[in-house]
Amino acid sequence: MIESGFDRRDFLKVLGWGGTAVALSGCGNTSVQDGKETVVSYVEASDYMIPGVSVRFNSTCTQCEAGCSINGRVREGRVLKLEGNPDSDINRGKMCGLGQAGVQHHYNPDRLKEPMLLNGDQSQSVSWEAALKLINDKLQGVSGDQIAFLTGTVSGHVKALLGNFMESVGSKHHFAYEALSSAVLRAANKKSYGVEMPRYSLDKAKVVVSFGADFLGAWVSPVHFSQQYSRFRKGVDGQRGVLVQIESKMTLTGANADRWLAIRPGTEGVLALGLINALGAAGLSLPAEVAAEVKAYDKARVSKETGVAVGHIDKLVALLRTRTPSLVLAGNGPDGFAQGSENVAAINLLNQVLGNVGKTVEAPVSAPFAQLQATNGDSASLYKLNEGMARGQYKVLFACGTNPVFSAPASLKVAENIKRVGFKVAFAHYLDETAQQADLVLPLDSSLEDWGTHIVAYQPGEAHIGIQQPLMEKLHANTRGAGDILLALLKSRRAEEYKAFEDYYAYLRAAVLQNKAALGGGALDDEGFWEQTLSKGLIRVAGSSAALSTSTVVAAVPVATAENPDYPLTLIPGITPNLRDGRYANQPWLQESPDPLTTIVWDSWVEIHPKKAAELGIAEGDIVEVISRTGSIKAQAYLFPGIHPEAVSVPLGRGQNWGRYAKGFGVNPFQILDPVFDKQTGELALNDTRVKIKKSGKRVIVIKDEGAAGGKQMGKKIAVRASTDEVDLSKEV
């Protein structure tokens, strides 16, 4: 936010003069470095290594859980640019912006480079030998029940190693934590369809009704769904697919919809049941128990509770009746409430009565190796760990690639409870909020330097094992992969078993080759199969496909959150395609690329409906305080018609206390979330925080592309259409 008197015009003036100065001094070849710059040759070069000619290697993107297969361009031993791997069923040669920024994770100047002992503000570099010895010493005489290992979603061989390590220390306390997870969806799906993650086929649907599923932005597998979406828009049988998005806060997908409906936060399940009732009335045959259950949800009541006009309900019903098959999705809107599971169940029920199960909701294919299958992170597991820490149960805690101190609500006191653990080890890329609490920090390889295998939760095609391989040499000599660290720890426990594996790479290679036949490489020799695997960057395996259950499960009735006059608004934390839960906030491309809806950069904002803003006397740029029962944050107000008047939204992912591109930019709404949990799964109800808003009296200029400052150019037209030879440049300037 700009608070000084330095406005855009001054900025442009300075920029102009600066530019002129540069231009003048640039008339000679000042950028030429004859005789000054060094040029270094290879000592030994392989045949394919030619300066100026790039080589491409396939690997797997680890920036989000979709696990797209990527193709990195490497020149002179440096990775320059990532593209999608066309061979992958997940992303078919495409990538998203978040994935692109992966190179900035790799080259990030704030990466940790040495193992470090931390003591308050003091830090001291130690050798790997000393670090591992320290861990082994601390594990001495500690029972398995006193050891916990916290990770994010983990799959593949590193998960297998982790399992073996935990077994070797006799602990069962592995917690997989993701602040933004689809755990509620998975649990509800399991009940409705018999599987956690069916395959959604947007491209077979003629109408998609999405309850807050931002499948083009940040939901499940956005690159994959974007491609399905383009086919859906081209249409089945010449009918262009119609997208209706129902949510309380507009997402990128909502902005693309044919019809966007604002719904009162948390009432998605009511609307779903109301739609079922109305569909029944319009002639859709409903199973008797369903009809009985939804009878109470007449249009008038549903409209009153959800805020969706009766007219819109009628239109939706007509649309769903005339266009089949359809697809109904439940995303990060409805699942973030105390009644989240019921909301999702009601939406799934809608799919069932519409007969979409088996047509647009299809059976998934699962990879055959159970031990490599993903352990999906959820937030409930963190709270379990947190309770244990509060009780003082744990003596040793490992945390790998996850940052709960940043992403858990402050009221849960994770930072304080971690202090009660005797010895904390963080495997980390950066000295983030959680690593700062550790006693020992172990620097990890970047994902472009490390080996790995990934089996993602959402498998759109055949079962797919993503291969992650280094695209270049390590940037820093003293970082290690999580697999390497686990292997080293295992070696000091089970030397016999692991002595054959020099490093994680050797382990991975041996483990893959051991299953060569099952992985479809029976006809090749080891070397040949390994080469093929690395060059493809993925392994496709014949998976087994579970049948979906089509029996309807009647949802329990969702209860809307009670009104609270002291806190009249609902806070919906915004999940943006760029920043997600904030672990990548230190990648400046993600900070500087404008938010797709508000076009704001490098800062947080409070989305508020213009009507509500007028009521509260708030104008754009007012610094407002968002106060919940457990804390408050201050950010600039942004008036946005794409939000329900009873809700406000602050994007997640900013407000870190570390990193040169993250620290000091924006605020962290995770901190003020109320400790409300989904009743069935124990997941944090992300959208169920009640807040009030207070003006602070300060006002700033909102830095954004769109609107008066960016769009109008002071009344000047900015683009003229004329061919170049018609234009007299002397008159234009």
Binding site: S31, D34, G35, S41, V43, E44, A45, I50
Partner: protein, 227 residues
């Protein structure tokens, strides 16, 4: 002052170039010496590429083709520097010079697997993409010039140098002085041969024979170099 000199040199170069075209003379341009650069190893180009002296083989050169060592030039836009491996490959078998200080330095670097920190002699601004591969393809492979001649257009008479020194200005005007010579472009600057743009500060001279047309030898589009 420096700019003035550069510009005059450029004009002189241009003048000579155009003269050269008129007389169908071989491709030569005026020299514009770069700074003398001190290298970590004073590499004797003359000893490697210079003329063989049958009367005293220890003095003369060995007439090694430029591309024998600079192999990347024909395969990439960037010529690069030959890998150390290349030097060692031959010098391992040349006992007679193994005790020379320069060769000792070479082997020290090789044993330590440390690349030699050469200083750049030819550098272009970052907004210019010069493509070695295309020039070698055209002049050596298609037209059959020798490497020494073709490389020499821009790098000068390297076979008579020890460490290389920049010989030509490598400025845009200097590049264009060759590129102007063989494409059909109207003197007014309007494209005839589908070139999009002509930099007017060097409007091509017309000849008496074809008053409206002149020829340039290379592509004329801005984007050929400024991509």
């Amino acid at each position: 002052m420096y700019r003035f000199i550069r510009f005059s040199t450029l004009l002189v170069g241009l003048f000579i170039a155009i003269q050269g075209y008129a007389a169908e003379a071989p491709l030569t341009t005026a020299d514009d010496l770069g700074p003398a650069v001190e290298q970590p190893i004073e590499f004797p180009h003359n000893r490697h590429a210079g003329k063989h002296d049958p009367s005293d083989p220890s003095k003369g050169g060995m007439e090694i083709d430029c591309q024998y060592c600079h192999t990347y030039a024909r395969r990439s836009s960037i010529a690069g520097i030959p890998p150390l491996q290349k030097c060692v490959g031959c010098h391992n078998n040349i006992e007679s010079v193994k005790d020379k200080p320069r060769i000792k330095k070479l082997f020290e670097a090789w044993e330590a697997k440390k690349p030699i920190q050469w200083k750049k002699v030819h550098d272009l601004p970052d907004f210019v993409r010069f493509n070695h591969e295309r020039h070698i393809k055209r002049f050596v492979e298609q037209q059959g010039h020798t490497s020494q001649e073709a490389c020499g257009y821009c790098h000068g008479d390297v076979k008579n140098m020890t460490v290389a020194r920049r010989q030509k200005s490598l400025s845009m005007g200097w590049c264009a002085s060759c590129h102007e010579k063989a494409h059909t472009v109207a003197a007014s600057g309007v494209d005839v041969g589908k070139q999009a743009y002509w930099y007017t500060f060097q409007k091509p001279a017309t000849t008496a024979k074809v008053p409206e047309d002149i020829k340039a030898k290379g592509p004329n589009d801005c984007w050929q170099c400024h991509k």
